[in-house]
């Protein structure tokens, strides 16, 4: 995956470049809005990481300019402003996801990978399959090894989101934002409780577990064989 990091703080940019390389991606960096715009338009990237406040041209206007030119490359906005209305502004400007500083690298990586997946054409898939777990998006039916699994509506949406990003780390915040549409931090381990309920339904009576906890990051649904 090829990522463009548009960030004016050179230390942060270097950290992201190095970390992304270690995660198996390639990353270019741009130090200001104008350079970033030129690079985003001349080369092809899978994901853009755009700092909201940039010299010469701010992050939001950069994304707006790209979208006006028909460029739909997924963009993750990084910002020190973490408030809900700021994120709404960011998404309205054409950003695809919004991450408030300070963020953890695992969170950022999970979101960048999810964004790259979102842009992929499999978006229109009607069935998600992980091992012997099958989720039919049209009939909302879930089966494991042919046996129907009965899920509550919210559990279904949780599983659907995990399966959409099968093989990728999904963080608790991503689940909170995308499954429940809550943009605040619960102090309790709510997400973990919901995951363990889901796990009881899809993994408990089977030998092989599909829903894995990734320590310090989040969850991943994957067939390990």
């Amino acid at each position: 995956m090829r990522v463009l990091v548009i960030e004016d703080d050179s230390e942060t940019a270097a950290f992201l470049q190095k970390s992304l390389k270690e995660s198996g991606h390639t990353a270019d960096t741009a130090g200001d809005g104008d350079t970033g715009l030129v690079m985003a338009r001349t080369a092809s990237y899978d994901v853009l990481i755009v700092d909201r406040m940039l010299p010469k041209r701010d992050g939001l206007s950069l994304i707006t300019a790209l979208r006006e030119a028909g460029d739909r490359t997924p963009a993750l906005i990084l910002s020190a402003l973490g408030e809900v209305d700021d994120r709404v502004k960011g998404l309205r400007a054409g950003g695809d996801d919004y991450l408030a500083k300070p963020y953890s690298y695992t969170e950022l990586l999970a979101r960048v990978e999810a964004l790259a997946r979102r842009a992929a054409p499999e978006e229109s898939e009607t069935t998600y399959i992980v091992g012997d777990l099958v989720l039919d998006r049209l009939s909302h039916k879930v089966t494991r090894a042919g046996t129907p699994v009965l899920l509550q509506p919210r559990e279904y949406r949780l599983l659907e989101y995990l399966m959409k990003y099968a093989g990728q780390v999904v963080t608790r915040t991503m689940l909170l934002e995308n499954v429940w549409d809550y943009h605040f931090d619960p102090q309790t381990n709510v997400i973990d409780v919901h995951i363990s309920r889901l796990r009881a339904k899809i993994d408990k009576s089977f030998d092989r577990a599909l829903l894995h906890t990734i320590r310090g990051a989040g969850y991943m649904i994957r067939d390990e064989t």
Binding site: G82, A100, T188
Partner: protein, 508 residues
């Protein structure tokens, strides 16, 4: 000098100057007109008398010819009084009369004019000339007759009057100026006192207040208002100072902990495994610090009114139902029964995320502190209720925990306040402050009540009218705290239903 200058350019002084000038212009105009009209009236009366006399002479001329005219002119001239006469022969010589000579500037066609003359009988060079008004006519034989009256007294009377009036105008002008000066000096003095006080306040002494004279006049009232403002500022500043102290304490403590653990790890002889452990702990600590920071920033933003761009119609019943569903499994795992009762939609205008956060904080609080402490009280139960009553949307979250003593309830809403015994629980002490700030932003209120036993947190928000067509069927759901308590759970379910219908009744 600057004092005088500031006095002159002061508003009261300028205004009194403007008033004075317009007053003077008006009085001057009125007085001038009065003098002029009086003079005119007196003169025309004199001229009328003269004309009547001239008519009398004409009559005599017609009866007795020039001789009779000459005789009567001479007689009248000698008769005393203030009449002046002169009869001139056609060639220019004097025939009769008490004037020495004919005044030059007089027309002879019967018109009137003013002239000056030397009083008869006085020594010519010593006497002052006097003013007179006269009419001269040409008699039929060609001689010219002048009849006049002395109006020097009238002139002097009018001049005296003018002097008096000018003096009084001058006096008024002086009094006005002096009054303006005194007035502006008094007002300026009081305003300067306010300015001096505000300078001292700007210098840092916020306890300073503007001195009032208690008269209740506009400056006194202004002073009262300013003092109220100062009181509020002082309260805000001291609140801020308190917050700063709290931040210093509540953020420095974890920072210090973080530093200690890193230092300890560096000294740890185990090397790498110890480093790894310490780093993981560091990240955890940093995350909790970030959370505290975020909560603080949110509260500050909410309190400054900067948030609130995302206001829409929010159905609190839906919102609370979703959150109830969200937290239900957590409560179950914690061995707490949680139930919800609601009564149709309760629509408010608000920010869905903020309101969600507020309700989530209340539920999490109940989850944290809702465990029953009284022996034999059974497992704790959390009841969440949404209702629309009297134009207010009310959300309440009640628990059966130890509760909060009445005198402490106001305090826990303040930032970083954590009661004894709760410090061992994770949390920043900002949750309820955030709820209060969110309530305030939405024009609502937040209060804590006794749930007997336990604590009930009530969030009230100004409601919008419920959308028509929505059913107002009450529903109650309960989650039992594990299978062992299922009997209790169902018992509570009934309680909930009864309670819901009770509330519905009161709402009507």
């Amino acid at each position: 000098m600057t004092k005088l200058r500031s006095l002159i350019i002061s508003t009261p002084f300028r205004w009194s100057l403007i008033y004075l000038l317009s007053f003077l212009v008006i009085v001057g105009g009125v007085t001038g007109t009065l003098l002029w009209r009086t003079n005119d009236l007196l003169t025309s009366q004199v001229l009328e008398t003269i004309r009547a006399e001239v008519d009398g002479f004409r009559q005599q001329y017609r009866i007795g010819g020039p001789d009779l005219l000459e005789r009567s002119v001479t007689e009248r001239g000698l008769g005393g009084g203030n009449g002046l006469y002169f009869l001139r022969e056609p060639r220019g010589g004097r025939i009769a009369g008490n004037l020495r000579r004919m005044p030059d500037q007089l027309p002879t066609d019967g018109g009137s004019a003013l002239f000056r003359y030397h009083p008869p009988g006085a020594i010519r060079s010593a006497a002052r000339e006097r003013l007179a008004a006269g009419v001269s006519v040409r008699v039929a034989d060609g001689s010219v007759l002048l009849v006049g009256r002395d109006i020097e007294d009238q002139r002097e009377f009018l001049a005296g009057l003018r002097r008096v009036l000018l003096w009084s105008i001058g006096l008024v002008a002086f009094a006005g100026l002096a009054g303006g000066y005194l007035l502006s000096r008094k007002i300026l003095g009081r305003i300067d006192a306010v300015a001096t006080t505000s300078e001292r306040i700007m210098g840092g002494d916020l306890s300073e207040r503007i001195a009032r004279d208690g008269s209740g006049d506009e400056l006194d009232r202004l002073g009262a208002r300013l003092n109220q403002m100062l009181e509020r500022i002082e309260r805000l500043v001291s609140a801020m100072r308190e917050v700063t102290d709290n931040i210093a304490h509540d953020l420095k403590t974890p920072l210090n902990r973080l530093r200690n653990s890193v230092e300890a790890a560096l000294r740890d002889p185990r090397g790498e495994p110890a480093y790894r452990e310490a780093l993981e702990r560091t990240i955890e600590e940093a995350d909790s610090l970030i959370k505290t920071f975020n909560a603080l920033l949110s509260i500050a933003r909410l309190e400054s009114g900067a948030a609130g761009d995302n206001m829409t119609s929010v159905d609190l019943t839906r919102l609370v139902e979703d959150l109830f569903e969200f937290y239900e499994p957590v409560a179950e795992d914690a061995g707490l029964a949680i139930r919800i009762s609601r009564d149709g939609p309760a629509v408010v205008r608000g920010d869905r995320q903020l309101l969600g956060q507020a309700v989530a904080n209340l539920i999490e609080n109940a989850l944290k502190y809702g465990h029953a402490t009284r022996p034999g009280a059974g497992p704790g139960a959390i009841s969440v209720r949404v209702e629309h009553r009297g134009g207010q949307a009310l959300i309440s979250v009640g628990d059966r925990g130890p509760g909060i003593p009445a005198d402490q309830r106001g305090r826990v809403v303040e930032r970083f306040v954590r009661l004894e015994g709760s410090r061992s629980q994770p949390g920043s002490g900002l949750g309820l402050s955030l709820v209060a700030a969110i309530a305030h932003l939405h024009g609502g209120a937040f209060r804590l009540e006794d749930n007997d036993p336990g604590l009930r947190a009530v969030l009230s928000l100004p409601g919008l009218a419920a959308e028509p067509g929505e059913s107002r069927r009450p529903s109650t759901r309960a989650a039992a705290a594990g299978s062992a308590n299922s009997d209790r759970g169902s018992g509570r379910r009934n309680d909930g239903a009864t309670l819901a219908s009770h509330w519905r009744r009161t709402a009507r």
